[in-house]
Symmetry: C2
Subunit: 254 residues, 2 copies
DNA sequence: CGCGGCTTTGACAGCTGTCAAACAGAGTGG
DNA sequence: CCACTCTGTTTGACAGCTGTCAAAGCCGCG
């Protein structure tokens, strides 16, 4: 289960062959249920495992001594945060669930062995860590250069696109089990302002975000407002088409 | 020259042996002088080379269709931006000098051969790309959670620390040949506000930034204001000590 | 039914952006 | 050597987006 999920995740952005898939499937790992708020990996510790999200949602964050929190990104099921921990000695951020989640824990030792024997898997994992970097760069652009509504729309577009690519969304709807406070900490705005922006987007008929579920009502307008271009996700053809097929059906319905 | 510089850069964060160094030194490459404003690598293109900065300063940036620019980071001499291009098909950002600069251009083909033969170099390069990711995460925290003065102080602390680690700074002073507009685009604030913040920091006796040279007058107070902790740079012992030796001499002088 | 977490509102302050113009310094050409 | 240009810096005035503080409303859950 863990290996298959990781395979699926890597194949979003890299090409693997049957032997690679078999090797990945053979990865050992332990499945854990983690409640909201409990850190899976904590700042300052030496990581010895990597993580695959099976269900729920994870976030990665850092805090300032004053208690402010910056969420770097949200992870949807099948995502594998912290692959970069393979070559980092000390965590400079924390990983924890936004809701009770089921995660697969893979010991680094097994991963080292795997990437030693399967160069293509190694390249895929390396590439995965680079795509995360690209996502951070885009987050910087989003959070620093866009104003509230576009900023929020962009985050929603990204999460929905990644969820669709991963096959865990239903049309223009996907789970996003986070609080408005979580959104605020990801977007670098106050909770109050998140709430107002959310209501404005809803009033405009662009999208809904209720009960931890995101529903985009008008993809075209939301993407335009966000100025969203999924290129930075570096998805392979198949995954990209799965994620953007929405454009067509959306247009057809209009 | 190019290979030696890359070696020096990689050794800031990873361990190499004599054979690794020799292989790196043997890397082919071309030296180019690039004027301010001319892109070395552009968004949308397929990268076929990596870059080492020999002198001057580079920046990496992305723009919105409305023309807003986000600078992701500045590179000091010996830095090697775009190592991640090795496993990314299309650039999602641009790399260009902030002042006329001298860069070394290394063809990817040679790098592929190198990392194929020298696992330790491969790991070092991988790690380098991960440290860049950590820097992006920290930028996100800085730009989204700190206010103007602390934000600017943090960027200055980072640049100075990296310059010291790289051995291209003189005490608490280093080159930072960028305009206030560049700073604004890196920090996500307006040029006017950058100017005001800069003057406030200067008036407080914390630091000077004139003529493309940054001089920190009181490291202790600047670092405290910025809440700067260099851990996220993941420097190795020697480099870290070189970069933070400033604390001691600074304290002695007080 | 009461509690606790999350969302929604209102009032108000202020940090930061925008627009415009003055100023300074370096390089250029006459 | 002096205008002149151009880029970058500095100021001023003013608007407004966004944060803060506080309280009320909602909703699931024990």
């Amino acid at each position: 289960m863990i290996g298959e999920t990781l395979t699926r995740h890597l194949e979003l952005i890299a090409e693997l062959d049957a032997a690679d898939r078999a090797a990945l499937a053979a990865l050992p790992g332990e499945i854990r249920e983690v409640p909201r708020g409990e850190d899976i990996l904590t700042v300052g510790e030496k990581p010895t495992v990597s993580v695959v999200l099976l269900s729920g949602m994870l976030q990665r964050y850092a805090t300032t001594p004053e208690g402010q929190r910056q969420i770097h990104s949200f992870y949807v099921p099948t995502d594998a945060p912290c692959l970069e921990a393979l070559h980092i000695d000390l965590m400079d951020n924390c990983l924890c669930p936004t809701v009770a989640s089921r995660v697969g824990i893979i010991p680094h030792a097994a991963l080292y062995r795997l990437i030693d024997q399967r160069p293509r898997v190694r390249t895929a994992i390396w590439r995965e860590t680079l795509v995360q970097g690209a996502i951070y760069r885009e987050s910087l652009l989003r959070n620093c250069q866009k104003q509230a509504d576009a900023r929020m729309a962009h985050l929603f577009c990204e999460v929905l696109t990644r969820a669709r690519a991963a096959g865990v969304a239903a049309g223009l709807r996907c789970d996003l089990p986070v609080t408005q406070e979580d959104l605020a900490d990801a977007l670098g705005m106050s909770t109050v302002h998140v709430n107002r922006t959310l209501m404005a987007l809803r009033a405009e008929g662009l999208l809904e975000f209720r009960g931890g579920v995101l529903t985009v009502a008008d993809w075209g307008r939301v993407a335009a407002l966000a100025d969203f271009d999924p290129g930075y996700l570096h998805l392979r053809r198949a995954a990209r088409e799965r994620a953007t097929a929405v454009f067509d059906t959306d247009l057809e319905r209009v």
